[in-house]
């Protein structure tokens, strides 16, 4: 008798894990609050830039349905606004392998349909505590992977790993067609990271959406600052108009290529904010059962480093590996803690790095970003850190290590 696993949530982590378990012979039931068509016809959920290590986990499961459709990007561009609003610094690092952003409306809808087609049980239902309370005993293991739902409240906040109690950025996302290229980048397709000190960040990346290739304009505004103006805007046209107005004002070099943009569709905008948080992985239920949290249910970082869907993919891969390794033994709370521990062994790095990036850059990081303009090697290393942020801890995150690394590169170049 194969083991029965219930997964709540139809996002990157829940669906990826469901497919993985199904391929290994587990009986998988996945509960989604929305149907595939509702996901596809709904609002955008993320910017979901995924780098090679995360994409590889999808390839491993045969879930890279849109890899050939593109668009891919091969580099990370960095632009710094000077005090007078001009472009003070601009460079691009090259990724060792391409990255891609497939609109989660396309991806999750497709994965959900594929799961059912491959033999998984899909139940369309917005899960409540009552449901979980009565369902846990019917499954060997129940996993909550719905990071945006109300069930996250089951998992207590872990203050020792959650330095912020309030949102650190106000988010605004617009999906557009018709964005031109950045001429400085030549043939290198990039995600562009524009830093406006004291104001916030603007990220621009190519993506694949329901209406084909597009670009995503993603503002991270410091709360109550000049970019924090999207709350309460209801019309997508107004959202785009305001985005362009702010681009013209704060990142004119990006605005220069935005004269012909139009919204991809009525659901192509998103605004919001949330406090980064790490939660306890075991969610206790009223009648004594327990559920295991995964991905952004337990580690929700600010999107400033674009790690959300990468962490979700890596979390799903780690959970799959641990569940398989556990064999026939019971999935008790000790097991849940252990599985999360394996994820946290990795996730602590992107979490610490992401939380640091929310602060004004300290002098050694300013120095690194400046040096990258003159040394391609540094720019490339920075770019590839987004694929595996653990590398930042060997240089970027530590003043002493950063200094010795810069010395080794600059010294060698002289």
């Amino acid at each position: 008798m194969s083991r029965k696993i219930l997964i709540v949530g139809a996002g990157q982590s829940g669906l990826q894990l469901a497919h993985g378990l199904l391929q290994h012979g587990y009986q998988v039931t996945l509960m989604s609050a929305r149907t595939a068509d509702e996901i596809r016809g709904g609002r955008v959920m993320s910017t979901q830039a995924m780098f090679d290590a995360a994409l590889q986990h999808e390839r491993d499961l045969g879930l890279n349905f849109w890899e050939d459709e593109g668009p891919h990007f091969d580099g990370l561009g960095f632009s710094l606004a000077g005090p007078d609003g001009s472009l003070a610094l601009d460079w691009a690092g090259r990724l060792n392998a391409f990255a891609q952003s497939v609109d989660q409306r396309v991806k999750m809808a497709g994965w959900l349909e594929a799961l059912e087609q491959r033999g998984g049980r899909v139940i369309i239902h917005g899960v409540t505590v009552s449901d979980l309370d009565r369902l846990v005993n019917r499954y060997d293991l129940t996993i909550v992977a719905a990071g945006k739902g109300e069930l996250v409240q089951l998992f207590g906040r872990d203050p020792s790993h959650s330095p912020y109690a309030a949102p650190q950025r106000a988010l605004s996302v617009v999906y557009v067609h018709g964005l031109g290229p950045r001429p400085e980048r030549g043939d290198l397709a990039t995600v562009n990271f524009n830093l406006v000190p004291g104001v916030g960040e603007l990220f621009i990346m190519p993506a694949l959406t329901t209406t084909g290739p597009c670009d995503i304009l993603f503002f991270e505004g410091i709360p109550d600052g000049p970019l924090d103006r999207f709350t309460g805007i209801r019309s997508p046209e107004e959202h785009l108009r305001l985005t362009l107005e702010l681009m013209e004002r704060y990142v004119p070099w990006e605005y220069a290529r935005a004269h012909n943009v139009e919204l991809t569709d009525w659901g192509g905008t998103l605004a919001g904010r949330y406090a980064p948080v790490v939660r306890n992985p075991v969610g206790p239920l009223p009648s004594g059962g327990a559920v295991l949290g995964m991905a952004d249910v337990v580690v929700a970082n600010d999107p400033i480093t674009g790690q959300g869907s990468n962490n979700a993919a890596k979390c799903a891969a780690i959970y799959l590996e641990r569940i398989l390794a556990h064999g026939d033994r019971p999935y008790d709370q000790a097991f849940m803690q252990e599985v999360f521990g394996h994820f946290w062994d990795y996730a602590q790095y992107p979490t610490t790095w992401t939380n640091a990036m929310l602060q004004p850059p300290p002098p050694h990081i300013v120095q690194v970003l400046g040096a990258a303009a003159g040394h391609q090697q540094i720019a490339d290393r920075f770019a590839n850190g987004f694929n595996d942020p653990r590398d930042f801890f060997s240089w970027f995150m530590d003043p002493g290590k950063a200094a010795s690394y810069l010395e080794s590169v600059v010294g060698a170049a002289v």
Binding site: A33, T128, V129, Q153, G156, L263, D265, W266, A275
Partner: protein, 198 residues
Amino acid sequence: MVSRPSSTELSPTAISTKIVIAGGFGAGKTTFVRSISEIEPVTTEALMTEASQDFDDLAATPEKITTTVAMDFGRVSLDQELALYLFGTPGQDRFWFLWDDLIRGALGAVVLADPRRLADCFPAVEYFENVPEAPFIVALNCFDGILPFELDDVRAALAIGPEVPLLTCDARDTASAVYTLTELVRYAMNFAGPPALV
């Protein structure tokens, strides 16, 4: 409650459809459902987590962080082969995913409003304006038959378009409730559906 002899037993080949009765707390949703339903309105309940304002409340137990959300509904057999269900939305309108479940597959929705507390139905109106597939009408539940405002003023206050039907009703009165549903169905017949791009 409507008495409809021999209609409560549905045929083994019956199909079903539904209409959602939305509105703020105390707008008369259950009364409306009761005045049409051939069964005494029934309730299904669910336990939800209660969003904690206190981030550091590690002592919170599931018992302490949960709240019960109830949903009332009724049924009317339109013919032997077709059952119409009427679902009232839960009072707490922050559980939007429950609304999504209610509206999925619905013919449309009636937003009931208490004219004395018009603002209570704003979240419902806003919700349906963001679900372009579902036609909705607004019915002012006038308990005493007196509307203290002009309908045009109400339309302006609710910020609904000129195409959305706005009428008065008495939720306790079967004829009035039937008329309200009839208006929704007539509107649905001419409903253009969502534009490709708003």
